[in-house]
Protein backbone atom coordinates (compact mmCIF):
# COMPACT_ATOMS: atom_id res chain seq x y z
CA UNK A 1 0.00 0.00 0.00
CA UNK A 2 2.71 2.58 0.85
CA UNK A 3 4.45 1.62 -2.40
CA UNK A 4 1.28 2.30 -4.37
CA UNK A 5 0.90 5.71 -2.70
CA UNK A 6 4.51 6.46 -3.53
CA UNK A 7 4.00 5.52 -7.18
CA UNK A 8 0.90 7.69 -7.38
CA UNK A 9 2.71 10.64 -5.78
CA UNK A 10 5.71 10.23 -8.07
CA UNK A 11 3.44 9.87 -11.10
CA UNK A 12 1.56 13.08 -10.33
CA UNK A 13 4.87 14.73 -9.49
CA UNK A 14 6.11 14.00 -13.01
CA UNK A 15 2.84 15.13 -14.58
CA UNK A 16 2.85 18.49 -12.78
CA UNK A 17 6.53 18.92 -13.60
CA UNK A 18 5.74 18.35 -17.23
CA UNK A 19 3.07 21.05 -17.29
CA UNK A 20 4.97 23.54 -15.12
CA UNK A 21 5.69 23.89 -11.43
CA UNK A 22 2.57 24.36 -9.35
CA UNK A 23 3.40 22.98 -5.90
CA UNK A 24 5.63 24.63 -3.33
CA UNK A 25 6.67 23.55 0.15
CA UNK A 26 8.79 24.31 3.20
CA UNK A 27 9.80 22.39 6.31
CA UNK A 28 11.48 25.36 7.98
CA UNK A 29 8.63 27.82 8.33
CA UNK A 30 8.14 29.67 11.61
CA UNK A 31 5.07 30.15 13.79
CA UNK A 32 5.33 32.32 16.87
CA UNK A 33 2.72 33.51 19.30
CA UNK A 34 2.19 36.03 22.06
CA UNK A 35 -0.12 35.10 24.92
CA UNK A 36 1.09 37.41 27.67
CA UNK A 37 -0.41 40.40 29.44
CA UNK A 38 1.16 43.49 31.00
CA UNK A 39 1.92 41.27 34.03
CA UNK A 40 3.90 38.62 32.19
CA UNK A 41 5.50 38.22 28.78
CA UNK A 42 4.63 34.86 27.29
CA UNK A 43 5.89 34.13 23.82
CA UNK A 44 7.14 31.12 21.94
CA UNK A 45 8.46 30.18 18.53
CA UNK A 46 8.53 27.03 16.41
CA UNK A 47 11.01 26.98 13.52
CA UNK A 48 10.11 23.64 11.91
CA UNK A 49 6.72 24.38 10.40
CA UNK A 50 5.73 22.36 7.35
CA UNK A 51 3.65 24.14 4.74
CA UNK A 52 2.62 23.25 1.22
CA UNK A 53 0.55 25.05 -1.38
CA UNK A 54 -0.61 24.41 -4.88
CA UNK A 55 -0.96 27.48 -7.02
CA UNK A 56 -3.16 25.77 -9.59
CA UNK A 57 -5.85 24.87 -7.04
CA UNK A 58 -5.13 27.54 -4.41
CA UNK A 59 -4.92 24.93 -1.68
CA UNK A 60 -2.59 25.82 1.23
CA UNK A 61 -1.74 23.77 4.32
CA UNK A 62 0.31 24.22 7.46
CA UNK A 63 1.32 21.69 10.12
CA UNK A 64 3.27 22.18 13.32
CA UNK A 65 4.38 19.98 16.24
CA UNK A 66 3.26 21.47 19.56
CA UNK A 67 6.32 20.13 21.40
CA UNK A 68 8.56 22.13 19.08
CA UNK A 69 7.47 25.50 20.52
CA UNK A 70 10.33 27.11 22.42
CA UNK A 71 9.81 29.45 25.34
CA UNK A 72 12.31 31.60 27.20
CA UNK A 73 11.32 29.93 30.45
CA UNK A 74 11.32 26.18 31.01
CA UNK A 75 8.32 26.03 33.34
CA UNK A 76 6.20 27.98 30.88
CA UNK A 77 7.09 25.49 28.16
CA UNK A 78 6.18 22.63 30.50
CA UNK A 79 2.81 24.14 31.46
CA UNK A 80 2.04 24.96 27.83
CA UNK A 81 2.57 21.32 26.84
CA UNK A 82 1.11 19.58 29.87
CA UNK A 83 -1.74 21.77 31.10
CA UNK A 84 -2.91 23.91 28.20
CA UNK A 85 -2.20 22.19 24.88
CA UNK A 86 -2.04 18.60 26.22
CA UNK A 87 0.56 17.91 23.54
CA UNK A 88 0.94 14.29 24.60
CA UNK A 89 -2.64 13.64 23.47
CA UNK A 90 -2.77 16.23 20.67
CA UNK A 91 0.75 16.49 19.22
CA UNK A 92 -0.03 18.50 16.07
CA UNK A 93 -1.84 21.61 15.01
CA UNK A 94 -2.88 22.09 11.40
CA UNK A 95 -4.51 24.49 8.99
CA UNK A 96 -6.01 23.36 5.69
CA UNK A 97 -7.49 26.01 3.46
CA UNK A 98 -7.70 27.85 0.21
CA UNK A 99 -6.84 31.28 -1.15
CA UNK A 100 -10.10 33.19 -1.55
CA UNK A 101 -8.71 35.40 -4.29
CA UNK A 102 -6.18 33.25 -6.13
CA UNK A 103 -6.59 35.15 -9.40
CA UNK A 104 -5.24 38.33 -7.77
CA UNK A 105 -1.87 36.73 -7.00
CA UNK A 106 0.72 36.43 -9.74
CA UNK A 107 3.20 33.92 -8.32
CA UNK A 108 5.45 34.39 -11.35
CA UNK A 109 5.85 38.15 -10.89
CA UNK A 110 7.76 39.87 -8.08
CA UNK A 111 5.50 41.82 -5.77
CA UNK A 112 3.54 41.89 -2.51
CA UNK A 113 0.03 40.53 -2.65
CA UNK A 114 -2.54 40.92 0.11
CA UNK A 115 -4.80 37.91 0.23
CA UNK A 116 -7.47 36.12 2.24
CA UNK A 117 -7.25 32.47 3.20
CA UNK A 118 -10.22 30.49 4.41
CA UNK A 119 -10.09 27.02 5.93
CA UNK A 120 -10.10 24.77 8.96
CA UNK A 121 -7.76 25.53 11.83
CA UNK A 122 -7.21 22.66 14.22
CA UNK A 123 -5.71 23.41 17.63
CA UNK A 124 -5.99 21.21 20.74
CA UNK A 125 -8.13 18.70 18.79
CA UNK A 126 -10.79 21.36 18.06
CA UNK A 127 -11.54 22.24 14.43
CA UNK A 128 -12.85 25.69 13.54
CA UNK A 129 -13.46 27.43 10.27
CA UNK A 130 -11.41 30.62 10.10
CA UNK A 131 -10.76 33.36 7.60
CA UNK A 132 -7.33 34.95 7.87
CA UNK A 133 -5.77 37.86 5.97
CA UNK A 134 -2.25 37.13 4.80
CA UNK A 135 0.50 38.35 2.52
CA UNK A 136 2.22 36.56 -0.33
CA UNK A 137 5.57 38.00 -1.33
CA UNK A 138 7.46 37.11 -4.47
CA UNK A 139 11.07 38.34 -4.45
CA UNK A 140 13.39 37.23 -7.23
CA UNK A 141 11.02 34.36 -7.94
CA UNK A 142 11.09 33.13 -4.32
CA UNK A 143 7.64 32.87 -2.78
CA UNK A 144 6.97 33.52 0.90
CA UNK A 145 3.80 33.75 2.96
CA UNK A 146 3.10 35.63 6.16
CA UNK A 147 0.08 36.23 8.36
CA UNK A 148 -0.78 37.69 11.75
CA UNK A 149 -4.08 36.77 13.36
CA UNK A 150 -5.73 36.24 16.70
CA UNK A 151 -7.45 33.22 18.18
CA UNK A 152 -9.61 32.96 21.28
CA UNK A 153 -8.35 30.26 23.65
CA UNK A 154 -11.95 29.54 24.58
CA UNK A 155 -12.77 28.62 20.96
CA UNK A 156 -10.25 25.80 21.15
CA UNK A 157 -11.29 24.59 24.62
CA UNK A 158 -8.01 25.66 26.21
CA UNK A 159 -8.81 26.33 29.85
CA UNK A 160 -6.83 28.79 31.94
CA UNK A 161 -7.07 28.27 35.72
CA UNK A 162 -8.21 31.22 37.86
CA UNK A 163 -4.84 31.63 39.58
CA UNK A 164 -3.09 32.69 36.33
CA UNK A 165 -6.07 34.32 34.56
CA UNK A 166 -4.59 37.81 34.70
CA UNK A 167 -1.22 36.63 33.33
CA UNK A 168 -2.42 34.76 30.26
CA UNK A 169 -4.31 36.66 27.60
CA UNK A 170 -7.66 35.14 26.50
CA UNK A 171 -6.73 36.02 22.92
CA UNK A 172 -3.46 34.82 21.48
CA UNK A 173 -1.70 36.56 18.61
CA UNK A 174 -0.20 34.13 16.10
CA UNK A 175 2.38 35.06 13.48
CA UNK A 176 3.33 32.86 10.52
CA UNK A 177 6.31 33.16 8.19
CA UNK A 178 7.19 30.66 5.46
CA UNK A 179 9.59 30.76 2.53
CA UNK A 180 8.86 28.13 -0.08
CA UNK A 181 10.70 25.98 -2.57
CA UNK A 182 9.34 24.26 -5.66
CA UNK A 183 8.38 20.66 -4.93
Amino acid sequence: MPRLTLIIILFFGFVTNAIGQTRYFTKTGTISFKAGTSLEDIDAINKSVTSIFDLSTGQIEFAVLIKGFEFKRGLMQEHFNENYMESEKFPKSTFKGKFEDLAKINFKKDGTYLTMVKGILEIHNVKKEVQVPGTIKVVGGVISSSAVFKVLLEDYEIKIPGAVKDKISPTVEIEIDCTYKAL
Partner: protein, 137 residues
Protein backbone atom coordinates in the same frame (compact mmCIF):
# COMPACT_ATOMS: atom_id res chain seq x y z
CA UNK B 1 10.03 34.36 70.00
CA UNK B 2 12.28 36.72 68.07
CA UNK B 3 14.32 33.77 66.90
CA UNK B 4 11.20 32.09 65.47
CA UNK B 5 10.36 35.25 63.50
CA UNK B 6 13.84 35.44 62.03
CA UNK B 7 13.69 31.75 61.17
CA UNK B 8 10.29 32.21 59.44
CA UNK B 9 11.52 35.27 57.59
CA UNK B 10 14.52 33.34 56.28
CA UNK B 11 12.31 30.44 55.19
CA UNK B 12 9.86 32.74 53.40
CA UNK B 13 12.69 34.65 51.71
CA UNK B 14 14.45 31.44 50.61
CA UNK B 15 11.15 30.08 49.31
CA UNK B 16 10.49 33.29 47.40
CA UNK B 17 13.97 33.33 45.87
CA UNK B 18 13.64 29.68 44.89
CA UNK B 19 10.28 30.50 43.28
CA UNK B 20 11.84 33.33 41.26
CA UNK B 21 14.70 31.01 40.27
CA UNK B 22 12.27 28.31 39.08
CA UNK B 23 10.11 30.85 37.26
CA UNK B 24 13.03 32.29 35.31
CA UNK B 25 14.81 29.01 34.66
CA UNK B 26 15.49 28.45 30.98
CA UNK B 27 14.47 25.25 29.21
CA UNK B 28 17.17 22.59 29.61
CA UNK B 29 20.13 22.87 27.18
CA UNK B 30 20.25 19.55 25.33
CA UNK B 31 24.00 20.01 24.79
CA UNK B 32 24.50 19.37 28.49
CA UNK B 33 22.34 16.25 28.53
CA UNK B 34 23.30 12.71 27.56
CA UNK B 35 21.37 11.00 24.79
CA UNK B 36 18.62 8.56 25.79
CA UNK B 37 18.94 6.74 22.47
CA UNK B 38 21.47 6.47 19.66
CA UNK B 39 19.83 5.70 16.34
CA UNK B 40 20.35 6.12 12.60
CA UNK B 41 18.17 8.56 10.64
CA UNK B 42 16.89 5.61 8.57
CA UNK B 43 15.83 3.58 11.62
CA UNK B 44 14.22 6.61 13.25
CA UNK B 45 12.09 7.37 10.19
CA UNK B 46 11.26 3.67 9.85
CA UNK B 47 10.11 3.51 13.47
CA UNK B 48 7.71 6.43 12.96
CA UNK B 49 6.35 5.31 9.59
CA UNK B 50 5.68 1.73 10.71
CA UNK B 51 4.06 2.58 14.05
CA UNK B 52 3.76 6.27 14.86
CA UNK B 53 2.07 5.74 18.23
CA UNK B 54 4.76 3.41 19.60
CA UNK B 55 7.56 5.56 18.18
CA UNK B 56 6.00 8.67 19.70
CA UNK B 57 5.89 7.03 23.14
CA UNK B 58 9.47 5.85 22.80
CA UNK B 59 11.24 8.81 21.22
CA UNK B 60 9.26 12.05 21.56
CA UNK B 61 10.56 14.39 24.27
CA UNK B 62 13.69 12.26 24.52
CA UNK B 63 17.26 13.29 23.71
CA UNK B 64 18.42 11.39 20.63
CA UNK B 65 21.81 11.06 18.99
CA UNK B 66 20.93 10.59 15.34
CA UNK B 67 23.48 9.52 12.74
CA UNK B 68 22.79 10.18 9.11
CA UNK B 69 23.89 11.58 5.78
CA UNK B 70 23.21 15.25 5.11
CA UNK B 71 20.66 15.74 2.37
CA UNK B 72 20.43 19.49 2.59
CA UNK B 73 21.72 22.38 4.70
CA UNK B 74 19.59 25.47 5.36
CA UNK B 75 21.72 28.11 7.09
CA UNK B 76 18.99 30.78 7.36
CA UNK B 77 16.96 28.51 9.59
CA UNK B 78 19.95 26.63 11.14
CA UNK B 79 18.50 23.36 9.88
CA UNK B 80 19.98 20.14 8.52
CA UNK B 81 17.98 17.48 6.73
CA UNK B 82 19.22 13.91 7.10
CA UNK B 83 18.53 11.23 4.51
CA UNK B 84 16.60 8.11 5.34
CA UNK B 85 15.81 5.07 3.20
CA UNK B 86 12.41 6.67 2.49
CA UNK B 87 12.73 9.36 -0.24
CA UNK B 88 9.66 11.19 1.08
CA UNK B 89 10.66 11.43 4.75
CA UNK B 90 13.86 12.84 6.22
CA UNK B 91 14.93 13.85 9.68
CA UNK B 92 14.63 17.62 10.12
CA UNK B 93 17.22 18.83 12.64
CA UNK B 94 16.63 22.38 13.89
CA UNK B 95 19.85 23.61 15.53
CA UNK B 96 20.58 26.18 18.20
CA UNK B 97 21.31 29.45 16.39
CA UNK B 98 24.86 29.59 17.74
CA UNK B 99 25.71 26.25 16.08
CA UNK B 100 25.56 28.03 12.69
CA UNK B 101 29.33 28.51 12.40
CA UNK B 102 29.74 24.72 12.53
CA UNK B 103 26.88 24.13 10.09
CA UNK B 104 28.51 26.40 7.52
CA UNK B 105 31.52 24.06 7.34
CA UNK B 106 29.38 21.04 6.41
CA UNK B 107 28.52 19.73 2.98
CA UNK B 108 25.68 17.63 1.61
CA UNK B 109 26.58 13.94 1.62
CA UNK B 110 28.63 14.10 4.81
CA UNK B 111 27.78 11.76 7.68
CA UNK B 112 27.01 13.60 10.91
CA UNK B 113 25.98 12.85 14.48
CA UNK B 114 23.26 15.19 15.68
CA UNK B 115 22.05 15.43 19.26
CA UNK B 116 18.68 17.00 19.94
CA UNK B 117 15.19 16.56 21.29
CA UNK B 118 12.68 14.66 19.18
CA UNK B 119 9.37 16.54 18.88
CA UNK B 120 7.45 14.11 16.64
CA UNK B 121 6.67 13.55 12.97
CA UNK B 122 5.03 15.69 10.31
CA UNK B 123 6.37 14.80 6.83
CA UNK B 124 9.78 14.36 8.47
CA UNK B 125 10.69 13.25 11.94
CA UNK B 126 11.57 16.54 13.65
CA UNK B 127 14.42 17.18 16.11
CA UNK B 128 14.74 20.44 18.02
CA UNK B 129 17.56 22.11 20.01
CA UNK B 130 20.15 20.26 17.95
CA UNK B 131 23.94 20.34 18.13
CA UNK B 132 26.74 18.61 16.22
CA UNK B 133 28.72 15.90 17.94
CA UNK B 134 31.83 13.82 17.32
CA UNK B 135 31.40 10.10 16.98
CA UNK B 136 33.45 9.16 20.08
CA UNK B 137 31.87 11.67 22.41
Amino acid sequence: MKRIFIFLAVVVLAGGLYGIYLFNKKPADTREETADFEISATDLVKAFSSDEETATKKYVDKILMVTGQIKEINITSSTLFLESADPLANVTCSFYGDENAKLKKLQSGEIVHVKGKCTGKLMDVVMNNCSLNNINQ
